[in-house]
Symmetry: C2
Subunit: 219 residues, 2 copies
DNA sequence: TTATATTTTTAGATTAGACTAAAAATAAAA
DNA sequence: TTTTATTTTTAGTCTAATCTAAAAATATAA
């Protein structure tokens, strides 16, 4: 149906639309998929002709409903495969992204239907990201960045914003994973750093860490 | 490591070397991967430069040890994925080949190691074809074509030579699958057709069928 | 508002892989 | 052993996806 490159562009643009809240620039796309802006212009013109996005010269792009549908389906496949790799093959959560980047392009509706069933129709992937259902509907949960919660509040970790192997390994070292309870003991106004409690341990984390961890507040 | 096209050529050449018992011609490759002979010449020259096969103009090609290693690894992946699709996702044996053609190109040693373990290190795929181990070693079994066995002998089906969906569906209709006992009740010298017994049923099969079914003779 | 900087697009080149048409080598038939 | 047929290779073209360099548009600063 679509080429590997086309699928990767659509997925990247979809993610950028959410991060940037609106129109996505040529440079933003180029940076995100590690290519040159001139290459992006070419591809974006091709995708516009195929009605997967709208494009006005110098004005950036926006996915059409059809483009979104394609992107969401790739994301669905990516996240289902990540669940498979962690739940069934016992990969660790910092090892699965690269492999899922390949698996997400396998073309077979039936395969995904069956994989989903085999995995028990999971709602979230190993990084806490929601898995769209077959109609593209995402389960919404109200989660907050750890950096947004107040002193003495407590939450349970439900996801990571950044999901590089390096960050995930840092979290492992600190014994933080999906489901871990985190209590904010102190918060430094100046630099946003925090003292938090995880299990019996209390330690310092920088703002960078706090704004890449999603938590659900607990009373 | 290798491109999709390169992998497909190596795999096709490997299979042809076995079918044709020796040197593989340009035309044979072209037919097998459904491309033009001129395209094959190009690719074969490229693979020769990479030392994956030896090539003499107008003389056909032969895989090097390295070329064989690559080909066998792809076949290993293909067959392991087929087992996964049938055993875990409950696909039928006539539905898995096309999907495995895609999955066999996923690049990750670790993935295959874990998949193999998850599946219980199977020795055969759903069509009865042997799965090479991680060193490329194939489990050899003495099996015969049904067409080669004599009247009143009996065997158990251990594999199919042809594994197109059409042929597999024919076998389903006749209630023949891996493990099925087959007894030869009659054999027509003229055209090689047979009367066989499968379970309680007795029926006629043509030579074409008999020479695409592998059996292991039982006393 | 004019000058400068940044972003984006165009023009032209490159690579992998495939194709067609024609030439060259080899095999088969007369 | 010529002639004819088949197989294989070469030469040249095409498309997808990328790149560099330069031009054009837009944004920012003086
Ligand atoms: Mn991922
Ligand atoms: Mn993920
Ligand atoms: Mn197969
Ligand atoms: Mn098979």
């Amino acid at each position: 149906m679509f080429t590997l490159a086309e699928e990767n562009y659509l997925k990247a643009i979809f993610h950028l639309e959410h991060e940037l809240q609106g129109e996505v620039s040529t440079n933003a796309i180029a940076e995100s998929i590690e290519t040159k802006p001139s290459s992006v212009t070419d591809m974006v013109q091709k995708l516009a002709e195929k009605k997967l996005l709208t494009y006005k010269r110098y004005k950036g792009v926006q996915l059409t409903a059809e483009g979104k549908k394609v992107a969401i389906n790739i994301i669905r496949k990516h996240r289902l495969w990540e669940v498979f790799l962690v739940e069934k093959l016992n990969f660790h959560w910092d090892e699965v992204h690269e492999i899922a980047e390949q698996l997400e392009h396998i073309q077979s509706e039936e395969l995904i239907t069956r994989l989903d069933k085999f995995l028990g129709s999971p709602d979230f992937d190993p990084h806490g990201d929601p898995i769209p259902d077959k109609h593209g509907v995402l389960k919404r949960t109200e989660k907050k960045l750890l950096s947004e919660i107040e002193k003495n509040q407590q939450g349970v970790c439900v996801g990571v914003k950044e999901s590089s192997a390096e960050f995930l390994q840092y979290l492992d070292k600190k014994k933080i994973s999906i489901g871990t309870k985190i209590k904010v003991l102190g918060k430094e106004f100046f630099d946003g750093s925090m003292i938090i409690q995880v299990g019996n341990e209390q330690f310092f984390i920088s703002h960078i860490i706090a704004e890449n961890l999603y938590v659900q507040i607990q009373e």
